[in-house]
Symmetry: C2
Subunit: 344 residues, 2 copies
């Protein structure tokens, strides 16, 4: 790292940012990073960024944001379609691997990337490492549902899981809600019926393991993501990922169909004009930009993965999400939560 | 059956209807049955109904629709929360079991119920029986997506499946699309990545089995339900059911949020007034009422299950869906399609 990172001031939160992550990188990342610094300033959050990426990209940014941003020049990049684990093993000087190494070495308090989810997962697991007692890290995504945000995990890290993994996902999700969002968990097991004993073999076996957890309310069905009853829904990474992308498709399909209605006549165009700002606000409140990232829970450091199509605003949200999880010392909280439960 | 069923006229399609199925039964069923007869008349479809249910419910209806409807009095009812298989075994004179028996005996060409999905599944499988070569019948649901209707199967019959079941689901779905809707299948395997080799062990093993089928386009992700690329998406009954209920929840949540926008100010109330009829039309086009039922594919007879909250309009759509599948002799078509494939 070029320039000295303040370690004397314990308050300062340092986040490593992958300057090459996302479809519109590095421009969207640099804009998002600047936005995050401005927003953090307004919120009184003492944020410092370390941008990992090509020197000619990150050094001018650090110079421009002297005292708030540092440059960590890297020479390699991992593309979206590379095999995650082998890319991470072979490209030691890629922005993703270097960003995770900064976290492992304690130079950064967290890492944010809007790059390849698989590569970030692999790098976080291989470079930063798993929390002791956690069998599989999970991707936790905040779904901005109209009746309240819902944390869905696993949303794609583990396509095949065991019942015990689901119990740990619930524990980690509850920890995030409590420590970072200040909310008590209302946990549901995603299933295809409301009563115990329903569903797949996995769901049937997981139910009794989950039922011992504080905040466990029972099975949640697909529509319960929007019912407001649960704020934490656990499932395997296959179902979770399909559900997440289904919601994205449904929301975008529905707004597309609404557009068709609005442009169908002069009368409706007029009406749409009156509603434009309210509808735009609704669309934004339901978009993933409001959240800006999915958390990788279960690794010994904070790592947040943004959507590949992240705009600057989404990158800024993602960086602030990373900073908040780091401020709350989330990995240590999860380790403490999982510890006694493992003994019991 | 009281009254003679015409077997001389091959054109006539006779559908057995469960008068006790659905939250608003029997009123919604009777209204829906009358609506179906009227719609069939307008479409030139020679539809005859046999209503199975309490004599005091079904006999007046048959008398009122003399020549178009028959009464099949039954003495038992299966509730939504009963254990499906044991209810079907113990209640031989329930409207669901009797309806299925009419199909097995060839008295009716198809059966429609908006009652317990599990009980209908169990009755259809136990009473009507599976098609030779089909390992597991599946529930196939038509999702009315803005860019074109998509057939999703299995949407809940089999929580745990084997790769070969998924191949058979695809075959049956393609058969329904071709024979009943006159559409060539564009088949996708629901998965969490677009390339072969991605996903759960099940999806990885199913891919090569599916890739030999005509119309197979590869993996479909959650958002592809709305992309218009596929018209037939296959998955296990756990994922399918979760996806279906997630879409229901998302659509209803979004229309709820829109309502909030519309009532937020005088200006928006005015605009909403101008859009009311167009929005209502959009909502209806996306609701399950437009389809009115899910098909039970793989049994040796036509059986269609309606949503528990079916209105009269939804019941009518469901009865007509049943009649169209019966007219197309769907079970025989599926048997013919699965036969040679089993040998190959």
């Amino acid at each position: 790292v070029q320039g000295a990172v303040s370690t004397e001031n314990n308050q300062r939160i340092t986040i490593a940012v992958d300057a090459l992550g996302g479809d519109d990188a590095p421009a969207a990342v640099l804009d998002g990073a600047a936005l995050a610094l401005a927003q953090a300033g307004r919120q009184g959050l003492p944020l410092q960024l370390i941008l990992a990426g090509p020197g000619e990209v990150v050094q001018p940014f650090a110079a421009e944001h002297d005292g708030q941003a540092l440059a960590q020049p890297t020479t390699q990049a991992i593309a979206m379609d590379e095999h995650p684990a082998s890319a991470v093993r072979s490209k030691k000087d890629s922005s993703i691997v270097v960003g995770c190494r900064l976290v492992r070495e304690g130079v950064a308090d967290g890492f944010f990337s809007a790059g390849s989810t698989g590569a970030c997962m692999a790098a976080a697991t291989l470079v930063i490492g798993r929390i002791k007692g956690i069998e599989r890290p999970a991707i936790a995504t905040l779904i901005p549902a109209p009746k309240g945000t819902v944390l869905l995990l696993d949303s794609g890290a583990n396509a095949d899981v065991k019942p015990e993994y689901l119990r740990q996902f619930a524990l980690m999700g509850a920890c995030y809600l409590r420590e970072v969002l200040g909310a008590e968990a209302r946990i549901g097991l995603l299933n295809i019926g409301s009563e115990e004993g329903k569903g797949s073999i996995l769901a049937q076996e997981a139910y009794p393991l989950l039922s011992g957890l504080p905040g466990f309310l029972g099975n949640a069905e697909g529509h319960d993501i929007f019912s407001g009853r649960f704020n934490c829904i656990v499932t395997d990474g296959f179902t979770g990922n399909v559900v997440l992308k289904t919601i994205e498709g449904a929301v975008s399909g529905l707004f597309g169909a609404l557009k068709g209605v609005f442009f169908s006549s002069l009368k409706s165009k007029l009406a749409a004009g009156l509603l434009r700002s309210d509808l735009q606000a609704l669309k934004e409140s339901l978009s993933s930009e409001a959240v800006g990232g999915a958390l990788l829970l279960g690794v010994r450091g904070v790592a947040v993965i943004g959507h590949g199509s992240s705009t600057a605003a989404a990158i800024a949200s993602g960086i602030l999400t990373t900073a908040r999880a780091a401020t709350a010392k989330l990995p240590a909280r999860i380790e403490a939560a999982i510890g006694p439960a493992q003994v019991g």
